[in-house]
Symmetry: C2
Subunit: 410 residues, 2 copies
């Protein structure tokens, strides 16, 4: 199989996986949801065919080991995640898992001086339990009790979801990476417009922006929409709307800052009732952690001021504070040389999106390669990749494996 | 039974009905939902005990006939609705049905020169099908095919809901009121603060404000919350929030106008995805129809301007345009004399809330009596009534029946 053929095949496989969805008509595949099983089966069959031993660990991560040369136990981990946001595209996460297997497919039956373990993380997006990175945190050995007892909107806990999928939560400890890992490499779509604006196929991640997320609830008083004069209202949605305007304005006024209110739930939620509660999420990101923390603090102060003026109460619950993460310099350097050897100009980039590499970074060397996102589109059905870009990425990956082999040999 | 005992009993019955709910822990009883059956059974038993013949019509309205003096076929209709908003109180609608039966209870076994038919309308709030007055429209004979084929959030149509409750949609025509009705009287909590501010037990409705409702959807482009620069976003929620601020400001700036955004649904609805769509409802009310129409038109223009500036699209679907309704002067006059004879000062009022009387008004004389709402609270669990106010309202009702009897006799 040529690299071009492998790129074509990888895209075909991503499109097939996209059909495994919880919601007819759109792509939604959350943590341990029923369609994940078909994805595991299909990828396991492919991995077995190229000489890998496959398992599903207790966190629902799909794993496949391609052994190194005789007597070698060190492993390079290659992977990304298999879950999706609601109404997703076909490539976010999935492409990285499929490309990892494709690289083994291209390497086999050649043995490297290290084993390769491909890992398809079960959860990265944080949709089902409002907590991201469940899969990679199990891999990193940092999954805590608070996460395991968190419940989804139907009242099922993470632990129950694991049992319900036929896995054993008591064996979560075994999901941790093996001793002396060589490192972790992840291929991912850019999910933004930078590579396309510069007409480039791939980019090398230098740092991943830090993220804060909080749940913010404005609470007022539900009352009749017809009989309550405007001046006597405590309308939670009106207060929330004023704050959403402030979130947008603050992000527009702070260089490099992005801030998003992605979820808003109004209660009681009837056309003829003044909203008594509006629950929101806010997501704030910046490459500089102090700037991010300051922005979040200012947004909280503004929310409190709006609530006070309107005689509303406010609940502010931060639930994610992910520092900015630097990729490992030696891996960045290897990816630069690998891309160059593939004939590609690959800029160093800051990722505005979080990735499993963030969770893995404290435990082993990490590197990431971005593949151009046409239109900068992701988390949307129109998300796509170009076959020629995937081929460049695969070539870069093959070169990186060779360079890493040289490092290990030396 | 004295009037005071009847008032005590009526409140107790309302509290019992409030326990019949779809949602544990709060009061929610939508059109033909399972708990409605227990309400029907309980009230039917009571009506039968006081000498009434009961049925459930094909629209799910509970009906009970107390015959007039021998040979009399004309009927006075007394009633209100049995459904509720989500997270409701115990008295909105329900009190009017319970008081109607209580009045028959107090009158029996005395025969009046007209029959009394008590009616507990199945649907007034418009929650389940985003269309109010399903029960009273069946009673008025104005239920149309568009309503019958409307679907709730689970895809069930009105017609299917009727069949599913064990009723026969083919018999909806029989739900219509009988020929030569004497009129319709409705008792209802005020749901606003006017009577309490004036320290009065009851008020007489002179007119009901007109209402407009529309569904408004802002549509942009779902995209990744981390990788999409603020200046490249088409955030549907940010646009909707700006418009919600305008709705509030316009209502605050227009005397007598109330405008409410009661529902907001964000898609895809994940913390890390820029909202691609935000669907809202707006409810606009004013006693003067041209002022209301003008306000709605201005809100539409503002929404279009916001959408254009943000490169969003907008969908604007008006689904209710209920003109202001005058109560019948002869009934207003009878209620004034009846309240006065009960020793009550009862002001003439405009109702900011719609009521079943609006739907019935084109077909027969109508009158409405308001009972004070402590705190002006309704559509909220804290909604309540005072026992002494209910007693005043029952006395007024008994006097009104006597005055009506005099009218018919004369």
């Amino acid at each position: 199989m040529t690299v071009g053929e492998a790129a074509h095949d990888a895209i075909r496989r991503c499109r097939w996986i996209a059909q495994q969805t919880e919601e007819p008509g759109r792509i939604t595949r959350t943590f341990l949801s029923p369609p994940m099983r078909a994805v595991h089966n299909e990828l396991s069959t492919w991995m077995a065919a190229v000489g890998m031993q496959t398992t599903i660990d207790a966190a629902g991560n799909l794993r496949g080991v391609y052994p190194g040369a005789s007597g070698i136990s060190r492993r390079l981990y290659l992977g990304s995640h298999l879950d999706s946001v609601p109404g997703a595209g076909a490539f976010d996460g999935v492409l990285g898992v499929v490309m990892a297997i494709a690289l083994v497919h291209l390497v086999a039956p050649h043995r490297l001086p290290f084993g390769i373990e491909v890992i398809g993380f079960s959860e990265e997006e944080g949709v089902r339990f409002s907590m991201p990175f469940i899969g990679s945190r199990a891999f990193a050995g940092t999954l805590d009790e608070a996460t395991l007892t968190a419940r989804d909107s139907t009242g099922i806990s993470v632990r129950e979801a694991i049992s319900g999928f036929g896995l054993d939560p008591a064996r979560l400890g075994e999901a941790r990476f093996a001793a002396s890992p060589l490192g972790y490499l992840e291929f991912h779509i850019e999910q933004g417009p930078v590579l396309e604006d510069n007409d480039l196929a791939v980019g090398i991640v230098q740092a991943i922006a830090g993220q804060s997320r909080a749940e913010v609830a404005f609470r007022g008083r539900a009352a009749h929409a017809g009989t309550t004069p405007m001046t006597m209202r405590h309308d939670a949605l009106a207060g929330a709307a004023e704050w959403i305007g402030n979130v947008e304005a603050m992000a527009l006024g702070t260089a490099g800052l992005v801030a998003t209110v992605g979820r808003a739930t109004v209660s009681p939620g009837a056309a003829n009732v003044i909203p008594g509660e509006c629950a929101l999420t806010v997501d704030v990101r910046h490459a500089n952690d102090p700037i991010r923390h300051d922005a979040l603090e200012r947004l909280k102060t503004v929310a409190q001021a709006i609530a006070a003026r309107r005689a509303l109460t406010i609940e502010w619950r931060p639930y994610l504070d992910q520092p900015a993460t630097c990729m490992t310099p030696s891996f960045v350097s290897i990816l630069e040389r690998a891309a160059s050897a593939a004939g590609a100009t690959a800029p160093l980039m800051t990722s505005g999106a979080g990735h499993d590499a963030v969770v893995v970074a404290p435990h082993m060397p990490v590197g990431m390669l971005f593949v151009r996102s046409p239109g900068g589109i992701s988390h949307h059905p129109d998300e796509t990749v170009r076959e020629e870009d995937v081929a460049v990425a695969l070539s870069t990956g093959l070169n990186a494996l060779e360079l890493l082999a040289g490092t290990v040999d030396g």
